[in-house]
Amino acid sequence: MSYSALPSAEVAQDFREALEDLKINSRPEISNLTVIAKENTEYAQAISRELEDHIRKTRPEFKLPALYVLDSIVKNVGTPYTVYLGRNLYSTFMGAYTLVDPNVRKAMEALLKTWKQPVPESLDTRPVFPSDVTRDIENALIKARTVMLQHQQQQARPHKLYEARPDQCRQCGRRFPATEEGKRKKAAHMDWHFAVNTRVAESAKAVVNRSWYIGEREWIAYREVTSDNMNDSTNSEDGTGSANGTPSKAKKAKKESVVPVPTDVSQQNAHCPICQEKFDVSWHEEMQMPVWTNAMKVGGRVYHKTCYEEAGSARNTPTPESVLGKRKFDGGVEV
């Protein structure tokens, strides 16, 4: 019938042209395409074909927005698009999946997940696409990931492990990229070696023993200190911070108040006499022992520093003791 053949081709062409302009994830453009599809359900077959062709042919970076158009149409319009698009969904989806980068893959996996469920806030309890359609794709994805892991290329890929990090520390073999950040990290790393070597030399005759392990809560709260992030974490100005304890001058700038956790187990669960709460424990890099944070010792008792100061300011006439406490503990640590 020539009468309807023309509009079909025209509608399809309109739709295709709008699709070809779609290069980013743009909500108005995707809505516009969805409206075209919705108002022309009698041409659903032609529109579906245009959409499938576009997803197949367009460049990998434009595939995700086009897939979002597909998603929007099947969720907002539903049949007959779910039928037409469902038929070739496997090849449409997998064809794109193999060509896109990992982030887009992740987005596609999220998309697939929503297709296994009903349209949100819809009365229809059936999934967006029938489960046999989505199941085939899911199985293929598992296989693809497994193959990716299993894939044994003939030549190994040491490049990223070696050539991409050409700047090697001659003391320990660690490598750094030849970037500004790499240079900064290497410098911090070399400072760290210097500080540790100095300290090893200083403490050559010192008795060293293994420390107690940290507990669950401290381990969960612990953040790894590496030989190149010491400056960030211990706030040292001279760059000699260290995981293994550097001269404590590195601590000068830090407004930190900690008290070592008592070795006497019966005292380890002590409460702050002011708020009756327990102390938070963390591992102290320099002292190499667990400490109570936000803590200060005054007259043989340990208080939360903040509690103690608040109590002091409430009285508004600081006792000699609290003044002493501040002066003594603001600078750092009492061991």
Partner: protein, 483 residues
């Protein structure tokens, strides 16, 4: 005190005879020699305990289980079966006594590297998604198929790329940054210490360390195999998973890198068609990658159980089979016992290049609360007169006690035993004691039953904590720890 490893190779032999088989080949004085390796080959060697081998990288690049050697620096190894691999070719200077050394042309490093890059691709994706957790990789396979070696390579590569992977050791047969019988979780953010016993690094010490220290979370199982007390083993897996998952929630860098799970060979045996422990681990840690080393049957079983038909909502599990490395060697019982002893000795005394000084102290029997793990496997007739004696006493605190521990009084049975000092109080429930992490270990150097006193070797000075103490038959008593 003689610490094996301090002796000069070829000059003296320990009269207790650590190594009789190799003596003939070791009699000749070692000489310095140069070993050239072409690209993609590896130098495989074995250094007995009580011997040392020194290796220096002269030219090119070289790595030991994925950790790169610094050029020109001398590395010292003791009690190691290892392989130095080179991607680019290298020249090594070697000094000391080795056994069974040869150059391997067929290496599996390409396989390990590819596995690493595939995992790292998964990590890149999680870096852009604030809730996604990096790959949770379970490594399974029969004993001595290279599971731990593979994990060391994958960990070293991940660290090299700036990641912070967490390594969980579920194999009580040997410790990881701790003693045998322990189960641990450790995040690695900086280079591994290849010279340490086990090759991972050192847990915190009171002085400086030339390689950044590692921070393990330690639980004590006190048995050598999961079968001996399945309930406790499972509970500890749950506990470790809880800690690691909590860390993931709070620490972005650690979350993105995911974790590696090392396992004992016995859980892969599929006895009676059951993979009970593997299923438990997969579910507790939400494992999404299973690496099967070697065994094709195990690979098929894992594929059947985990890669298909995962329940709704669960992430699919990728099951991958990697070939067992050609360089893999069987470790006989003598070697394993020496390795366990070396790990315990290392805990108290450190390594020759960084020795530690433990303390000895006397403790009254009454000062210490000891819980001995029950063996629930098959015949539970482990001969234990010390514990039996106590069973005759009425102990109100043990009324209705669960199937976890027997509370025991110190006796000669504790001679040479390793005591795990938990973070639980002596009066806590047995479940709480089981679920508590470990503060550290003490070694029973002497039991004086007449005076009712123990002489203990302790890593730290000061009063022995009054915490609950856990003990078991594993690791076995160590006779010559005090030299």
């Amino acid at each position: 005190m003689s610490i094996p490893g301090l002796q000069l190779p070829g000059l003296s032999f320990n009269s207790t005879g650590v190594d009789t088989t190799a003596q003939s080949s070791l009699q000749s004085a070692p000489s310095i020699r140069t070993q050239s390796l072409s690209a993609n080959t590896e130098y495989r060697f074995e250094v007995p305990f009580a011997r040392t081998l020194r290796i220096k990288l002269l030219t090119g690049t070289a790595e030991l289980f994925g950790s790169e050697l610094a050029p020109g620096r001398e590395y010292t190894f003791t009690g190691l079966k290892g392989a130095i691999f080179t991607y680019h070719g290298c020249e090594l200077e070697i000094y000391g006594a080795v056994e069974n050394d040869y150059v391997g042309e067929e290496t599996e490093m390409g396989v390990a590297a590819n596995a690493h890059f595939a995992l790292d691709e998964m990590r890149q994706v999680t870096a852009t998604n604030s809730n996604a957790i990096g790959p949770r990789v379970l490594v399974v396979g029969p004993e001595d198929c290279g599971k731990t070696s593979l994990m060391r390579i994958l960990t070293a590569y991940a660290v090299k790329m700036g990641r912070q992977p967490t390594v969980v050791n579920l194999n009580p047969r040997e410790g990881l940054l701790s003693v045998p019988g322990s189960l641990t979780a450790t995040t690695f953010a900086d280079i591994l210490d290849v010279e340490e016993v086990g090759g991972w690094g050192s847990s915190p010490i009171s002085g400086p360390s030339a390689v950044p220290i590692k921070m393990p979370l330690v639980y004590h199982y006190a048995c050598g195999t999961p079968d001996e007390n399945k309930a406790v083993y499972k509970a500890l897996i749950t506990r470790l998973a809880l800690a690691v998952t909590s860390r993931f929630q709070e620490d972005d860098e650690v979350r993105q890198a995911g974790c590696f799970l090392d396992t004992p060979g016995s859980i892969s045996s599929g006895k009676g068609g059951s993979y009970e422990m593997i299923q438990h681990i997969v579910s507790e840690f939400s494992v999404n990658v299973i690496v099967v080393l070697g065994s094709e049957r195990l690979y098929k079983d894992m594929t059947r159980l985990f890669s298909a038909g995962t329940s709704e909502g669960d992430a699919p599990v990728s099951v991958v089979r990697l070939a067992k490395s050609e360089g893999c060697v069987e470790r006989d019982e003598l070697y394993m016992r020496q390795l366990r002893q070396a790990q315990v000795r290392n805990y108290f005394f450190g390594v020759p290049s960084a020795p530690l000084s433990p303390y000895t102290q006397m403790v009254d029997f009454s000062q210490i609360s000891i819980y001995k793990i029950k063996s629930t496997s098959g015949n539970s007739s482990s001969f234990n007169p010390g514990a039996d004696d106590d069973d005759d006493d009425y102990d109100p605190s043990s009324f209705g006690v669960s199937n976890i521990y027997d509370k025991v009084m110190p006796s000669m049975m504790l001679q040479n035993a390793l005591l795990a000092i938990t973070t639980a109080s002596a009066t806590d429930s047995q479940e709480t004691i089981r679920d508590s992490s470990v503060l550290g270990y003490m070694y029973v150097a002497e039991v004086d039953e007449a005076k009712k006193k123990l002489r203990l070797l302790s890593p730290v000075s000061g009063r022995v904590p009054g915490n609950a103490v856990v003990v078991g038959d594993w690791p076995e008593g160590i006779m010559d720890l005090m030299g």
